[in-house]
């Protein structure tokens, strides 16, 4: 470091106070945090309705898309109109494990927001015509997604890493989308939207005690037991040959290496957070320094974690220009191998610790950020204490721990590898590294 640069102070501790946590008579669990900086309220309703808990292909995706298209009391236009009248917004997010209704409104309409979300959760009707329209949109959306180079990379990686495990299920085909009718979606909604399996998180300019009363009024009639469900445990599979997906005319090659690593809560998880941060977690990371700043091979090399309830899919990679595909792949393998076989420096380790604790602190400063964090933790059975103790637990991790988890989970010999690029220009150079399975990119099915 140069002389004269002012020294950094300590990263402040993250303190959230004590959220109000309770459970309604129908077993709906509720967390409320008062955050009065702006007169808004944020709400997250989490239900176990992820895509892998929807056994009929495309039914999970259609549940998400058609959830806001009608209730027993409102058609889709009325629902949106009522929502916008309170300055409101509703989004439905979904991953493999859970579905999350994310709502917000001006704080003075807190009660109206609960009433609207409850109407959707309890009384969504999935009108046949609306589901049909969503089928068209889903099919078109998938066609568009398939035309990007990242889509076949992701789908193939998941199939290789997970095999028959539901996390590896392929994206629905056009035929599967066409065959999934409204009754299947209604049945899925009925089975998964149960108060005892749901978690509601509220953050905003609210009086928490009054919020509980308002939530009880809106959601108190929600009935039914069960609804829980989760994917089976993930087993590691030894990697097969590198898969090269031919995308003729591509000016870049997507290079991705993926491994399944333990989920949040596992003892290896936090050392892995540091290992992946040092490897490819930002602009000071090894991949960024090497592939971008030293070699100029790529715009954005990265290591990303796709977090599930049962594992975290860690993908390291980059989009590199076609001419340097082999050279860039060699650097990726080098960095993965180095992390698994040598200790990270004290400076790198300290920097990564400060980065992950500081960015978590920053992430929960807004109403929306805190609501999202608490709701995601809730899916793992964790709460605000996880955030408050995060810095201490990160602080205790040493370089040997990082190297051990890198060797155990991130080593290049454990990774499934996929490339998407112009095969006729890169195949020979990729074969240098070992056997290659060549596939064609499918544009639509």
């Amino acid at each position: 470091m140069s002389e004269g640069i002012p020294a950094l102070g300590p990263v402040p501790r993250l303190r959230l106070g004590r959220p109000l946590r309770t459970e309604l008579d129908n077993q709906l669990s509720l967390t409320v945090v008062a955050r009065t900086a702006v007169p808004r309220v944020e709400l997250h309703l989490l239900v176990p309705a992820g895509t892998v808990l929807a056994p009929v292909p495309a039914s999970g995706e259609l549940l998400r898309r058609a959830l806001l298209t009608g209730t027993a009391h409102r058609d889709s236009v009325t629902l949106t109109g009522d929502l916008h009248s309170i300055g409101g917004d509703l989004q439905v997010a979904q991953d493999e494990d859970v579905l999350m209704i994310q709502g917000s409104a001006l704080a003075e309409y807190e009660a109206e927001l609960y009433e609207l979300v409850a109407d959707v959760a309890l009384h969504a009707t999935f009108p046949a015509a609306e589901v049909a329209a969503e089928r068209v949109r889903l099919a078109e959306g998938l066609r568009m997604a398939r035309s990007t180079p990242h889509f076949p990379a992701g789908e193939t990686l998941r199939a290789l890493v997970y095999a028959d495990h539901p996390y590896g299920w392929p994206t629905p085909t056009d035929g599967q989308v066409r065959r999934c009718g409204a009754p299947i979606v209604r049945e899925l909604h009925r089975r998964r939207f149960r108060p005892g399996a749901a978690q509601l998180t509220v953050v905003g300019a609210v009086d928490p005690r009054r919020s509980v009363a308002r939530v009880r009024r809106a959601f108190g009639d929600w009935r039914g037991r069960g609804g829980q469900g989760r994917a089976p445990a993930v087993r590691h599979r030894p990697p097969g040959p590198l898969t090269l997906i031919d995308r003729p005319g591509s000016v870049q090659t997507v290079v991705d290496l993926a491994v399944s690593t333990p989920p949040i809560g596992h003892p290896d998880h936090l050392p892995l957070v540091l290992a992946t941060t040092i490897l490819g977690g930002g602009m000071a990371s090894r991949l960024f320094r090497n592939l971008r700043e030293r070699h100029g091979y790529t715009y954005g090399p990265r290591t990303q974690g796709d977090s599930h309830l049962r594992d975290i899919l860690v993908v390291s990679g980059a989009e590199v220009r076609t001419e340097v595909t082999g050279a860039a792949y060699a650097e990726l393998l080098y960095e993965l191998g180095r992390l698994a076989t040598t200790d990270v420096s004290a400076e790198e380790l300290e920097g990564a610790k400060r980065y992950v604790t500081g960015t978590r602190l920053i992430g929960v400063q807004t109403q929306a950020g805190l609501a999202g964090s608490l709701a995601s933790l809730g899916a793992h059975g964790l709460d605000h204490r996880y955030l408050e103790t995060f810095a201490d637990r990160i602080g205790r991790i040493g370089a040997a721990d990082v190297r051990a988890v890198a060797a155990r989970h991130l080593a290049p010999g454990r990774a499934q590898t996929v490339m998407v690029g112009d095969a006729k220009r890169i195949l020979d150079e990729v074969r240098v590294f070992g056997p290659v399975t060549l596939r064609r990119a499918t544009r639509s099915r």
């Binding site: 470091m1 002012p6 409102r74 236009v77 009522d82 180079p149 100029g296 980065y355 400063q365 807004t366």
Partner: protein, 440 residues
């Protein structure tokens, strides 16, 4: 059953106004501070009044390439030091280039404020540009263009392509990401010239939001930036552009695209014009959600579109971030069986209807409340508040607009929207970009 009765619709909305302090240093650097003393976080932004529009002829893409060079080291902070320090602080950073400014920011725990000011001051005072870093970042930028444009379906739709046809003068109508031939031609001397012309303290606004009190903020900024000598500031550019008088049609073929899309760019009213906020709300009335007019008519009713969205300076900007001519752009995915002509015919009819009858009171109130809620969400984030204050100061020299906008938006009437639509959302003021699958 509706939750919101008409009586409720008249309830006044509570007012939330963040404190905004404005200072100017002797060397011309402007400082905007919006304190939240209890916050453990601070956002630091530096906005320079130079964007895509001011890059020299024959040097397309230069403003954005230069943004990259600002992270390649300065007199007392070698390459990588800036990134290492922000990461070690526990924070995040980025830079972004827009039509009329280039911004750099850090969001960090407030304990790192002094360090961030040092780094920003060092690169404002003495940026270090070498052949090696220029060559490296030229390659990085070319990969950025490949990943975002050349190797993607719909790459450059519509922000990159539409202005090149909707405008006629170079500042507004060139390739903002840059032709590869121009990027390859850029020299260290070009970069130094650009830096000297546009990166003077008098051409910059510094913004601090979050955990700091205003007096301390002024002191720390004086300490680090006060010693930077004043440098000449460029004259106000001429960005003027004649209004179009006939609809222009452009066909673009994309071999990677599976379905057709269409963009329609109307000329947008400038900030402060009486049509400016009405046009901002008109975008929501027309396209925001299932209750919006074009969703009901074109997505659900006539089923000519699969989706539609619109806004001022959409999709890479917003209603506040331009000082030259700009577009009010609509983007849609067209059903292959519906022709572009049919789409435009219905669109023109809907614009006529909005101009003739205006929105209903309920449509307007919804759009106003959505705007207010989004405004609050944006300023709840220190980064969001820093961005809007920096934009308002660098582009309009008026950061206190932050707290005047809610009342101005609330004051818009249905007739204001109708009049704005009649004046601006006219076919002859628009450029249409048909983006279709295929090679020829």
């Amino acid at each position: 059953m509706g939750t919101v009765s008409p009586a409720r619709a008249a309830t006044p909305v509570p007012v939330h106004e963040p404190q905004v302090e404005v200072h100017q240093l002797a060397n011309g650097l402007r400082l905007v501070v919006s304190p939240e003393p209890s916050s453990p976080v601070v956002a630091v932004g530096v906005f320079y009044r130079v964007g895509f529009r001011l890059e020299p002829q024959g040097q397309t893409g230069f403003a954005h390439l230069f943004e990259h060079l600002m992270f390649q080291g300065s007199a007392h902070a070698a390459k990588m030091v800036h990134w290492d320090l922000v990461q070690n602080a526990g924070g995040v950073l980025n830079g972004f280039t827009r039509h009329d400014y280039t911004a750099y920011f850090e969001v960090v725990p407030s304990s790192a404020l002094e360090t961030m000011c040092y780094l920003e001051a060092d690169r404002m005072a003495a940026l270090d540009i070498t052949e090696e870093t220029l060559q490296n970042q030229r390659e990085v930028v070319k990969e950025e263009v490949r990943v975002n444009v050349l190797n993607q379906p719909y790459g450059g739709f519509s922000w990159l392509e539409l202005p090149q046809h909707a405008f006629s003068r170079y500042p507004n109508a060139h390739n903002f990401y840059g032709e590869f031939s121009d990027l390859e031609r850029a020299t260290v001397a070009d970069a130094r010239r650009f830096y000297d012309a546009h990166y003077a303290p008098g051409n910059a606004t510094m913004v601090l939001t979050g955990g700091i009190d205003p007096d301390a903020a002024l002191a720390v900024v004086e300490r680090h930036f006060g010693g930077i000598p004043a440098r000449p500031v460029p004259p106000e550019p001429d960005l003027s552009e004649p209004l179009p008088t006939a609809r222009r049609r452009v066909l673009h073929r994309d071999p990677q695209a599976p379905v057709p899309r269409i963009a329609v760019g109307y000329r947008m009213a400038p900030f402060g014009d009486r049509a400016h906020l009405p046009l901002t709300l008109a975008a929501d009335i027309l396209t925001d959600g299932r209750a919006s007019r074009l969703h009901r008519r074109m997505v659900r009713g006539d089923q000519v579109l699969l989706d539609v969205a619109a806004g001022p300076n959409f999709p890479i900007g917003d209603a506040l971030d331009f000082r030259g001519p700009a577009l009010w752009t609509l983007e849609a995915t067209r059903r292959p069986e519906a022709s572009a002509e049919r789409v435009l015919q219905i669109l023109d009819a809907e614009m006529d209807r909005l101009g003739a009858d205006g929105p209903t009171a309920e449509e307007l109130v919804r759009a106003q409340r959505r705007w207010l809620s989004a405004h609050y969400a944006w300023i709840d984030s220190l980064r969001g508040r820093m961005t809007v204050l920096g934009t308002l100061d660098a582009v309009h020299r008026d950061p206190r607009q932050l707290n005047r906008l809610p009342a101005a938006v609330a004051a818009v009437t249905p007739e204001d929207v109708a009049q704005a639509a009649r004046e601006w959302l006219r076919p002859e003021r628009s450029t249409v970009l048909d983006w279709v699958p295929g090679t020829r």
